[in-house]
Amino acid sequence: MVAMKTIACLCEDVTRDEVIEAIMLGYRDIESLKRFVGFGTGPCQGKQCIQFVREIMAEMGIDPGPGMTSRPPMSPVPLALMAAEVEGDEKQL
């Protein structure tokens, strides 16, 4: 059996309880909440969790606003591709 948990962020294993706790500690906007509990910082960059966190905020009487901006890479991509040369560009040495 897994322990009874409502996961808010699948990537970083952040629970609903943790989000509520952080809101009670005074983190009342989505950006500082994200920095404090770490949701939205995993491989999916908030595609799954932001809406749920917004709903939790609204339940606690906070206007959640439109959320936050995902950062690139929005989906996992090998670093080797980032380091690859660009066709047609002169090589910089």
Binding site: M1, I7, V14, G46, Q48, Q51, T69, A80, A84
Partner: protein, 409 residues
Amino acid sequence: MNDVEIRFTFDGRRYRARKGDTVAGALYRSGVKVLTRSIKFHRPRGLHCGSGDCPNCLVNVNGVPNVRSCITPVSEGMVVRSQNKVISLRFDPVVLMDHFFKRGFNYHHRFIRPAFARGLYQSVIRRMAGIGKVPNVDVAAEPTQRIRTDVLIIGGGKTALHAAEKCASAGLRSTTVINSVQEPRKNLQGSSTLDGSFVVGAFDDGHILVSNGTRLHIIEPRYVILAEEGRDQPMTFPNWDLPGILRETAAMRLIEDRVAIGSRIVITGEATRRERVADLLRTSGLKHGEITITKPGWKVLAAYGRNSVHKIVISDGGSKETIACDCVVTCGPLAPRIEIARQLGCEVVAKGKASPTISVDESFETSRKNVFAIGGSADVLDDSEADRSAEIAVNHIISRMKGAGSWSR
């Protein structure tokens, strides 16, 4: 041609797949539901969203870590390995953490005192968690390509293809990023498609970085049309992350790939869509056993299971009911995918806790000039309305190009 067999391995065991299967789909058919373990509590995780949007099916494929197995096609001889487990996927003792930290824990606040032990804590935590290991093989990377195009269309559904057709018939050069192929595609004059690709990031200068896993494309479009299909939002309840709990998109894809999704299935969520999943199941000819559709007003209170779901409790607010099941399909509310629009700086609005939407004007242009959102991206769900939004946006682009004197066709 669906019965062509492909052989691959998962954690050293041999499995068979059919042509067209995804890695996660082929494993699901073979009864493998746990694909990885979660980062902190090592909770079992498996195929969930079916659209490459979540971390629950990340695996190592041929030495490359963090590959999304739900959207990666199987190929002959593929070597697939699970990540982030201690001992084995089905028996991972670190799951004790799950029971020890009942409410969750934040590693910015625990395991930080005394200060001199931080380094030790960190090395242990890093070994236990961490998604994927740095590969010790070279990842083959093809050189990055620059693509200059009139119109970049993002999305692989009907609306995106309709927009591509409209561009082609007007003589516009268009490039379409297709994440998953759902519709048969025609070869269109002047249009190219990037199959099996996804957007990595969108930047202030309007350049959009796209990848297919083996190379990057830097796309420099004059106009962007966001035409992604709506995302079915997760339905959250205690243990909604258990393997066997599938989002509608994942379930539909499995059924299309002729995978029996379960022997006792519960379908919950929005009325018309849960009926559609049930109908597809019944007419698919696949073995499906008993199908339970939750009644209006009934909500899932919790799911239970060890390595995958084995029962759920539902309630109408008063009475409760327990249903034994091995698969739960959730049809959560559809919401526009706003990530690319936000990165491009387009205005996104939200009223209260309702899902945010991209603001568009009457020609479906966003607050950023030359960036349009149509169909699901503009929260237009009706098929013919979505087609109309594609036509309006493309016509607008044509008239703007003519006005700017950049119409050379």
